[in-house]
């Protein structure tokens, strides 16, 4: 994977895990973000810190087209500007009060966030179904060793053996952990999706075991 991540896309979550009107915590190389989807379905990535008192905005809530902080209810638009300060209902919040926002793209059931100005679109995941995300207490090298395949430049691992036709989209997290988005080839019914989820869990166990034994340093 690239070490310089400025301008490149990070796969932060699956579309299915961010319904309209919700906010979730996520992480990009710049730090934690509040990833939220407005009622109308638009995804936004905001820095995870309310400029008022520093509360994590991922603890907040989405009402209509705005993200609100759970602490004092300050709410922010998709562009990051402050829309409302409930304790001062007559005040139009000054332009200076804003949270940083990042570019977001949603493709193939995956939500990607970029720092800076990305020069291209995120990779297409054609013929792949975004199944579930899980976090491994293992680095990318250990996961590659467990899968028997190397990650491509954008973090896609296609395991060598036919492990339920799953692919893994990897994103390095802090503390040596790795976020794994599990992707499944082709159309699959419930039984195949459950089998793929279990295969991914086995692969995670194997990777964490390798990590613990220090084989894949």
């Amino acid at each position: 994977m690239r070490s310089d991540t400025t301008g490149s896309w990070t796969p932060v979550a699956l579309s299915r895990d961010l319904p309209a009107g919700t906010v979730i915590p996520a992480r990009i190389p710049a730090g934690p973000i509040a990833l939220w989807r407005s009622e109308s379905g638009c995804p936004t990535a905001s820095a995870n810190r309310c400029p008022h008192r520093g509360m994590s905005l991922s603890h907040g809530f989405v009402r209509g087209e705005a993200l609100s902080c759970v602490y004092h209810g300050w709410s922010y638009a998709k562009a990051g500007n402050c829309l409302r300060i409930p304790a001062h209902p007559g005040l139009t919040p000054p332009e200076a009060i804003r949270v940083k926002t990042y570019a977001v793209e949603e493709t193939g059931g995956v939500i990607w966030v970029a720092m800076g100005e990305p020069s291209s679109s995120p990779m297409k995941l054609e013929g792949l179904l975004a199944l579930r995300s899980l976090t491994a207490h293992a680095g990318i090298a250990a996961i590659e060793a467990a899968a028997g395949a190397k990650a491509g430049p954008e973090g896609l691992v296609e395991p060598a053996e036919g492990t339920e036709a799953i692919c893994l989209l990897l994103s390095a997290q802090e503390n040596g952990e790795t976020l794994i988005h599990v992707l499944l080839r082709g159309e699959a019914g419930p039984a195949a999706r459950i089998a793929a989820s279990r295969a991914a869990e086995s692969l995670r166990r194997k990777a964490e075991d390798l990590q613990k034994k220090g084989i894949a340093q």
């Binding site: 699956l14 915590p25 809530f61 001062h88 209902p89 579930r132 989820s197 279990r198």
Partner: protein, 219 residues
């Protein structure tokens, strides 16, 4: 019905939550769990020699163990919260009721260690808590593939109420909930239920209420 209750106890909250969701009125008898350790005093040990709360008194009936109390409330007031006649559903309810005991031991143990300085191996408690959360995450994912939004069925049951509080309070024990997207969706579904009530550390979904408006003027 009288509940021997402690506001910060997730197990007591299970009973308060179940009662609120099923419209049962409870008389609350506060127990000085901390720092008084009243649950280990003579009056409460006479009711429950195990020295645990909640304890539910209904006339001559005395019940301990939160899962048993949940089943009692549901059977009294809202049988749809119990397993139906399908064998798998009945088994799943039992599976997650048993599992809830592991949540209490692991995530609950870590929370007591961090909040009330109870002795214990915090690293081991947190690791057991993470293992339990992973199991719950996978279980909920699989249920979703079967078209079911809750642990045992496509409707909430006593199993969901038994598991919800210790999961929602995992961060109190230093265990992050960030890595579990399916648990997050389930937690939202529980908090969106009609009649849901809060406890300290578990808040309602503010977005379900309209935006509060204040008279403008002297802002």
């Amino acid at each position: 019905m009288k509940l021997y209750d402690y506001i910060l106890s997730p197990s007591c909250y299970k009973v308060r939550l179940m009662a609120a969701l099923t419209g049962v009125k409870l008389e609350l008898r506060p127990v000085d769990f901390h720092p008084g350790a009243e649950h280990r005093g003579p009056e409460l040990l006479a009711l429950n020699p195990a020295g645990s709360i909640p304890i539910l008194e209904d006339g001559d009936l005395l019940l301990t163990e939160s899962s048993a109390i949940l089943v009692y409330l549901a059977a009294q007031a809202a049988p749809e919260w119990l397993a139906g006649s399908k064998p798998e559903e009945a088994a799943r309810v039992q599976q997650w009721l048993s599992f809830s005991g592991r949540l209490t031991a692991s995530l609950g143990g870590a929370r007591l260690h961090e909040m009330l300085l109870r002795p214990g191996d915090i690293g081991a408690l947190q690791a057991q808590g993470i293992a339990a959360l992973r199991e719950l995450e996978a279980g909920l994912f699989e249920q979703a593939q079967r078209g079911k939004r809750f642990l045992a069925a496509d409707r909430p049951t006593v199993a969901d109420i038994a598991c919800f509080p210790y999961v929602a309070l995992a961060p109190d024990g230093g265990v992050s909930l960030d890595p579990y997207p399916t648990i997050r969706l389930w937690s939202r579904a529980v908090r969106a239920l009609e009649g849901f009530i809060e406890m300290p550390g578990i808040h309602r979904l503010h977005e379900l209420k309209p935006e509060p408006t204040v008279e403008t003027g002297d802002a």
